[in-house]
């Protein structure tokens, strides 16, 4: 017994990595049995090290191939939870050092190692791949390479900042690491990231996926043999431009210029709110200028520092929240949605159509006028054609996709509709009319979804014969770019209706929050008080440009004045008035009449060419609309100097947003803080560096926030009265929205 157990201890059963000999090639296979994707977890790293040591110790082995057996994933990155679990920067640094060591051993391998990539090869996965001597990948749509660490507030901490510049050159390496963008295989080959690409196969004697993986392995084994036999080399042929670039990069002053330019660009884009990009530049610079041992040291230290920043925690929270919001928690719908009908071919209606047809769903787009319909159809065409121009799809795929779209002025074919989304004018009477018309022509199972941004769904459903089939689906403009979908359920909405709406949203590629009904639901309701405060600030003499700069400098992607122009001043006025009526004084602050006057003058925002700013002229510098300035003068109020400094102005805006968000949670409109954070960031552009209003409260401290609000309350009254839940959190610091 004793012998047996000690043996069992010696012989660790490997679960994540194994290898097999194919002639003299060791094929190392990665597969995390506990997950859909491979991540560089402690277990995975330990087993890779163990297996590679065995491979290197085997004199029979002349070369090796590293491949994943997971369909659609090579290695998707480091294990985020492993970083999150760290209690100190030193701990994170040591994670980085372990990764660096492991990959350095692979880089200096005595036998050639080939990375055979199919599916996502991101973050740590890419760092593993670029440590290998040779890389080949399938040209599958699922194959993407990239260093997305920056999007999590981190940096490529396992040698990535050191190897990438050598591999693809300084400018490209910066572009990859600072944007974190995904790169498709063919592009990666051109960039010098891959040596070889392999086309995915169709069906043969096995399924396409299975056979493609086998084929990848076969080709990789062939390459490995040729490398060992020195029939091929790892050198990539460099084009003239690349050679030229190499020469130019040889000059220290050129490199210095690049560091400066990149730093300036980063500062301009991040407003200094995100530490990771600057640290990435520092790592690259140290490695290139002072040699790799310094580079590795700076990389691991910076990685440790970043791992402990609030920004990184916020971004990781958003990433994980977004993953959580891409699941259907309401079960599988009873019926598969085959036909969707959309009422109204305006910006929203056509946008919804665009993200539906390209998923192969038959879509009816109905409008009341031929002009409106033509405009909407053109919008869908243009959206797809832009993808053709960017070589995302072929013109043939565009045409085949468009064949799913039917444009019409009547209700013919609605008897086949499984769901109807209305995107007609925001007027309850019109909504009621179309609902009745739709219910008269659609089958009993058909769901009626309203893409309203503020009207309570229960009010719309009031005239419905089938209120259990009525739901709100609030898309954000432009629909093909904005990832969020806010789904609103009433007390009567059935679970299956919700499940169907979520299922459609997921097919459309949306990140979904499901919230309770009420005026403005969650997102519009949070935005309204902040907009009211913005109007107040304009009245108090903060000009539109200043307002924009104050809001972008705390991390809003779009300045508040510009946002109002984008949303439409008329829409803003409408929402402010409606929600003002519904919620009373708390939503006050700015004068709604100001917005109404602007609308009367035709200053409806970007769509009318004039709003807070002037549009149409191609000049880069945005001009303030003098007409709007005139109106502002007539509504002028005196700013209380005690709470009108730049920082106070920013906090006033944030406070009103955050308080309303917390109130939504308190009232049960929001099911949880995660969806609250996701909705605020992905729908409204709440500064991602804060991770959303709830994480902001956690990080900033509810008590500190409360103090600020109390001070503003003295001047402005109940606009700034903290809600009960916020007070509870302020009183008890152990209460946190995120664990």
């Amino acid at each position: 017994m004793l012998i047996l157990s000690s043996r069992a201890q010696l012989w660790h059963p490997r679960t994540h990595v194994n290898y097999e000999l194919k002639d003299d090639v060791a094929v190392v296979r990665l597969n995390d049995p506990t997950s859909k994707v491979n991540t560089l977890s402690k277990q995975m790293e330990a087993e890779i090290t163990q297996v590679m040591n065995e491979v290197w110790g085997n004199a029979q082995v002349k070369s090796a191939v590293v491949i994943s057996t997971k369909p659609g994933c090579f290695v998707a990155g480091a294990d985020i939870n492993m970083i999150k679990a760290c209690k100190s920067a030193e701990e994170v640094t040591s994670l980085s050092q372990e990764g660096q060591k492991m990959f350095e051993k692979i880089e200096k391998s005595p036998i050639p190692v080939v990375a055979a990539i199919n599916g996502s090869c991101l973050g740590g996965g890419l760092e593993l791949a670029i440590a290998c001597q040779y890389r080949l990948a399938t040209k599958s749509k699922k194959t993407v390479l990239g260093t997305p660490e920056v999007l999590l507030g981190l940096l490529p901490g396992a040698g990535g900042t050191q190897r990438l510049p050598k591999m693809v050159g300084l400018p490209t390496a910066f572009d990859m690491m600072l944007t974190g963008r995904n790169i498709r295989a063919d592009k990666a080959k051109k960039m010098g990231l891959l040596h070889q690409i392999i086309d995915p196969l169709g069906p043969g004697l096995k399924s396409p996926e299975e056979r493609t993986m086998e084929y990848l392995e076969e080709v990789a084994v062939g390459v490995a043999k040729d490398l060992a036999a020195k029939k091929v080399t790892v050198d990539k042929k460099k084009g003239l431009i690349q050679k030229l670039q190499d020469v130019v990069m040889g000059f220290p002053f050129v490199r210095k210029q690049i560091y400066n330019t990149v730093t300036k660009k980063v500062m301009k884009q991040t407003k200094g709110l995100y530490p990771a990009p600057l640290k990435i530049i520092e790592c690259v610079q140290s490695g290139v200028e002072k040699g790799s041992s310094t580079g590795y040291q700076v990389e691991s230290e910076n990685f440790g520092k970043l791992g402990m920043t609030a920004e990184s925690r916020a971004l990781i929270g958003l990433y994980q929240g977004q993953v959580a919001c891409k699941k259907n928690n309401f079960g599988t719908p009873e019926r598969e949605l085959k036909t969707l009908a959309i009422l109204g071919a305006g910006l929203m209606g056509a946008g919804i159509a665009q993200v539906t047809v390209d998923k192969g769903v038959a879509t009816i787009l109905k409008d009341t006028t031929l002009e409106g319909l033509a405009r909407g159809q053109q919008q869908v065409y243009k959206g797809l054609n832009d993808k053709v121009k960017k070589r995302g799809i072929t013109s043939f795929e565009r045409d085949a996709t468009l064949s799913f779209l039917t444009g019409q002025l009547d209700y013919s074919g609605f008897q086949k509709a499984d769901m109807v989304i209305e995107a007609v004018f925001e007027d309850l009477a019109i909504k009621h009319q179309v609902l009745k018309e739709v219910e008269a022509v659609t089958p009993a199972h058909c769901i009626f979804a309203s893409n309203t941004s503020a009207l309570p769904i229960r009010d719309i459903a009031a005239v419905s014969k089938r209120p259990e089939k009525v739901i709100g689906m609030h898309y954000f403009s432009p629909v093909d770019k904005m990832q969020l979908l806010e789904i609103i359920t009433t007390d009567k909405t059935s679970k299956d209706t919700t499940a169907s709406a979520v299922a459609l949203g997921l097919r459309q590629g949306k990140i979904i929050i499901v919230v309770g009904d009420g005026p403005g639901f969650y997102t519009t309701r949070c935005l309204a008080p902040m907009l009211a405060e913005a109007v107040r600030l304009l009245q108090e003499g903060v000009g539109p440009k200043m307002l924009d700069s104050l809001t972008t400098s705390i991390g809003f992607p779009v300045g508040m004045a510009t946002l109002a122009d984008e949303v439409g001043i008329d829409v803003a006025a409408h929402v402010a008035e409606d929600l003002g009526k519904a919620f009373g004084q708390r939503f006050g602050g700015g004068n709604v009449e100001l917005l109404k006057t602007m609308v009367q003058k035709g200053f409806k925002g970007r769509k009318s060419g004039k709003g807070c700013f002037l549009y149409g002229a191609k000049s880069k510098d945005k001009q303030v609309n003098p007409g709007a300035e005139e109106i502002l003068k007539t509504f002028k109020l005196t700013a209380p100097p005690a709470v009108s400094g730049n920082e106070d102005v920013q906090y006033r805006l944030i406070c009103r947003f955050v308080n309303e968000a917390v109130l939504c949670l308190q009232e049960g409109i929001l099911p949880d803080p995660i969806q609250g954070d996701i909705g605020a960031v992905f729908g409204l552009g709440f500064p991602p560096c804060f991770g959303g209003p709830f994480r902001f409260v956690d990080t900033f401290g509810a008590d500190r926030l409360l103090q600020k609000m109390k001070r503003y309350e003295e001047f402005y009254g109940n606009h700034f009265t903290p809600c009960q839940l916020l007070q509870d959190h302020a009183r008890d610091p152990s209460k946190r929205f995120h664990k």
Binding site: G202, P203, G204, L205, P208, R211, Y215, V232, F396
Partner: protein, 440 residues
């Protein structure tokens, strides 16, 4: 095989369906493009095939009711090449003619159109054929240039014309070449063939061996004078051409030296195991049996059931024969084992071998073809015994008639009763036809 074996098998004649016969078929020598035919035009080749058919059959020039030609890359000056060739060949100008296109099965389509016309009672005697001329293809100006030139026609003033001419940029002068690529997928056929071979696990060696077999068999057939469908052609200003010129039996070693032509560097399809660009034309005379007998002919074969199939043009571009074979056999009430002579179009060695593997796979039959079991793989000792498109050449539009005529000739020579023609075509389409020997 005993000569008397054929009557054992039943005839495929059906009551209420007209018997339609192949009276005879001919073709020009198939030449690698850019060789002796280089200075001709497509209708010259088609005309030669038609004249050859007139000579071979002795049919009166007004006894034909209709003429149909298949072609793929159209010469814009002779877009209805059937008519131009027929007039030039001396057929009566009262015989209507049209041209069809269906990629590599264009002349199959010409023949089955003829069969349909006869079966419907509209015609009794039809000439079908195919032509392809790759020595010259339409190379166009760029779209921008064309647009400018068309606007130039409409420009009224000198100033307007000069403005248009001034708008021409060097980039506009880049010509547009026709590609042997799918419009829908933008993939070249060779690339798709390489992926197909990889999908079915067909090795480079297998492909080279098959190509070598094709060339060796073609060489033997040529040497033994079996390719009797070929008619000589006195090319203006050049010698008489009487033989296909692309048959080159090589050695495995020589073939192994070639680099992959499409998928680089790990692909398996090379110039040596692919069919090559070819110039050539073919023609057949198809009649109702009654008419043929009335005119005193001894027909060569019955043209029986045929099918067209189509599938995914991306991943199954060249699998037409796998889909068409079981379907046409089913229509005829035959099994694969009943077939004595197989003639499959050889686009690529890898494509042929992939099809053979697909036909031999229960999994593929069930998963992709919705069938209960595989049809089986044709035995190689009955398969393309006189060479194929890999060695004889493949003028896209003309190959179908060559396949049918070859089946008729082989049935006679080998004493078989049933033959099967199958071919793949661009667009992910395919065709198969059952041919029955005419009683001796």
């Amino acid at each position: 095989r005993a000569e008397w074996a054929w009557p054992v098998k039943k005839t495929l004649s059906k009551t209420g369906v007209k018997n339609i016969v192949l009276v005879d078929g001919v073709r020009t020598p198939f030449l690698q493009s850019g060789t002796t035919y280089a200075d001709l035009m497509p209708h010259d080749l088609a005309r030669t095939a038609l004249q050859g058919l007139l000579n071979r059959t002795g049919i009166p020039k007004d006894a034909v009711d209709y003429i149909i030609y298949g072609t793929v890359i159209q010469e814009v000056k002779t877009s209805n090449v059937a008519r131009e060739a027929a007039l030039g060949a001396g057929f009566s100008d009262r015989i209507p003619a049209h041209t069809v296109t269906m990629a590599c099965i264009s002349s199959n389509q010409a023949m089955t159109t003829a069969v349909g016309m006869i079966a419907a009672g509209q015609c009794d005697a039809v000439v079908a054929g195919g032509v392809e001329f790759m020595s010259d293809v339409p190379i166009r100006h760029s779209r921008k240039m064309r647009k400018t030139m068309l606007s130039l026609n409409k420009a009224k003033t000198l100033g307007a014309r000069l403005a248009l001419l001034g708008s021409i940029r060097p980039a506009h002068l880049a010509p547009e070449l026709p590609a042997v690529a799918e419009f829908s997928t933008e993939e070249t056929m060779g690339h798709s063939a390489d992926r197909l071979a990889a999908a079915f696990g067909v090795s480079r060696r297998e492909q080279d061996e098959y190509a070598l077999r094709s060339h060796s068999l073609a060489k033997r057939a040529q040497d033994e004078g079996l390719l009797s469908d070929v008619v000589g052609f006195k090319v203006p200003g050049k010698d008489i051409v009487s033989k296909d010129n692309g048959i080159r039996p090589s050695s495995m070693e020589q073939m192994a030296k070639l680099k992959p032509a499409f998928v680089k560097p790990h692909g398996t399809v090379t110039a040596a195991n692919s069919s090559y660009l070819t110039d050539g034309a073919s023609a057949v005379l198809i009649m109702s049996e009654e008419k043929a007998l009335a005119l005193g002919y001894k027909p060569k074969a019955y043209l029986r059931d045929f099918v067209y199939v189509s599938q995914d043009p991306k991943d199954q571009l060249l699998l037409g024969p796998s889909y068409a074979t079981p379907k046409v056999l089913e229509r005829s009430g035959l099994k694969l084992a009943d077939i004595d002579v197989f003639e499959f179009h050889e686009a690529f060695a890898g494509q042929i071998l992939s099809n053979l593997k697909a036909m031999d796979s229960d999994w593929f039959a069930k998963t992709y073809m919705g069938r209960t079991s595989k049809v089986g793989s044709p035995p190689l000792d009955k398969f393309n015994l006189w060479g194929g498109s890999l060695s004889l050449g493949h003028p896209f539009g003309a190959t179908g008639c060559r396949l049918v005529t070859t089946v008729a000739h082989r049935l006679k020579k080998e004493g078989g009763q049933y033959g099967l023609v199958a071919a793949c075509a661009a667009g992910g389409q395919g065709h198969a036809m059952v041919i029955e020997a005419y009683p001796q």
